[in-house]
Assembly symmetry: C2
Homo-oligomer: 318 residues x 2
């Protein structure tokens, strides 16, 4: 057993996380989808910040002792994780600093500030360095977006809830970006019911996780290449820690095309009445377009988030 | 006490309904809305048929004895109630016939048939007559869309759930069409907590319920006038039974403009990531645009449904 395997998150960690975050995040329902066969949706887009990230962020802040809570936390993730941390920090009284690239959209900066976080804008390449400086200078705790057991345990509560609501589930399909959500969900589901298949999904044009799993090591694709997917939440590489979880618990990875992703965003708006971002739609896209690549039976697709750019939404729904 | 008052639905009826429909309808969450002050949303648009109507329809079918279940049921409501009855009938093994006007959109006809109901198309004016004929000829039970205690009790479960999730609620805001939902919710909330304000909302251009409540009798506005609201689910008059409930339990009715309704449909898509139909948006519209007319405090807006016409959605989200 390697050091990384010893550090895997366990079912008990996820159960503890569920108790910690209860009342601080939305207990999302499992939605039957009569317009598709044997499909249920787990809409994390309904979290107040629009994504599952609130679960991990809330769990991670909750785990800090009183001194570290007082000092505050910092992250260099500019997307949903930054907003999740800001929101959780406000709920728990923990000061939050988010280092964002100076090219971030005003919408994202405003949203993060709106939840009460301090936003520091720096050139893209200096984000991590600046965050580490803040750890040194101000005694802040760094809360990474996915490469942390407390984050993975928090996201894993999605898996617990799926099983609570549909104990007869056969297949769970989940998006794979940095691997925090998929690691947590796979760990929860496989620990509760090893016979349930857990399938990861990523864009075909950003299939670094599939390659990493096949190679048994983290493969990092060039940023320019990752930019070719519209699913901006899935452009991040796995970490050693998430790769270890996925190697242990994930049954397979399926990839979907850009067209299938956008078509599914449209379908979810029309049929499920949900506004979903492209990254959030990939699991449902696999069910709707690649069912022959999935095991048969009662299938849950995790919708990870709903923060679609207004311009993209306008073109898709027009 | 008049005959109608004796027939009012009571808290116990709503609790019984909740037990009956549990597992057959979605237990919708209460969504905190950080983009507005002290606002929570109750998104009934997430029911599998896209509206709260599934609660009442399921309760009404569940209450039938085995003989009447076998014979089947009929309704002449062509909208969400028809689809709700079809869906509930399939789940409970009850044959469902829906009499629809021959001018119904193919989308609505297909959806109703898709849930396994028999659809009979007749000229608009003959809907009720044809449904009553079917009651005679085939021994079907007529299940009306709102003028029935079992329907009101089923819709009232929305109120129970609001209180379960936010016992510190101060104000509940609910759309008023035929009055089934508002009667059930007001009865549940006021019976549990008389200090909580329950406010109905309807379009200013279709304010027949406000007028009926002021007059103490059901006022029916001409169909042509009711057509002037985009909120097509709120064009129906109250019944004696729903008026009796609303007279007893509703604190006030607020009206909203057509512009405010459409603006709120847009806001709910962007900020709450929910696809909502105009009728479903009126309660939130009152909170966002008429807050000065509402009591202060922690406010829940009920979103009654999400079945927006695709053409309207396209223009709004473009």
């Amino acid at each position: 057993m390697t050091a990384t395997q010893q550090n895997l998150v366990h079912l008990e960690d996820i159960r503890d996380a569920a108790a910690r975050i209860s009342g601080l995040v939305v207990r999302t329902p499992l939605l039957p989808s009569p317009w598709a066969e044997e499909l249920w949706l787990k809409p994390e887009s309904l979290q107040p910040i629009g994504a599952f990230k609130l679960r991990g962020a809330t769990n991670a802040l909750h785990r800090l002792d009183i001194e570290h809570r007082r000092a505050g936390v910092v992250t260099h993730s500019s997307g949903n994780h930054g907003q999740a941390l800001a929101y959780a920090g406000r709920a728990l009284g923990v000061p939050v600093t988010v280092v964002m690239p100076d090219v971030s959209t005003p919408l994202k900066i405003e949203a993060t500030r709106g939840y009460g976080a301090e936003v520091i804008l720096v050139p893209q390449s200096q984000r991590e360095v600046r965050a580490l400086q803040l750890v040194e200078e101000r005694g802040l705790t760094l809360i990474p977006p996915y490469d942390h057991p407390d984050i993975i345990a928090g996201q894993g509560t999605v898996g617990l809830e799926i099983f609570e609501d549909l104990s007869s589930v056969d297949v769970v399909v989940v998006p794979v970006g940095g691997g925090g959500l998929s690691s947590g969900v796979a760990t929860a589901v496989k620990s509760l019911a090893p016979h349930v298949a857990v399938i990861g999904v990523e864009p075909a044009v950003a299939a670094d996780a599939a390659e990493s799993l096949a190679a048994g090591m983290v493969r990092i694709w060039p940023e320019a290449r990752m930019l070719s997917t519209v699913a901006d939440g899935l452009r991040t590489p796995l970490s050693e820690l998430t790769l270890a979880h996925l190697s242990s618990y994930l049954d397979a990875i399926v990839t979907v095309s850009e067209e299938e992703i956008l078509d599914t965003v449209r379908t979810l708006a029309r049929k499920a009445r949900l506004v979903v971002e492209p990254s959030g739609a990939v699991a449902t896209a696999a069910v709707l377009h690649r069912r022959d690549e999935l095991p048969a039976g009662r299938t849950v697709a995790v919708i990870s988030g709903g923060n679609i750019a207004p311009e993209l939404a306008a073109t898709l729904f027009a």
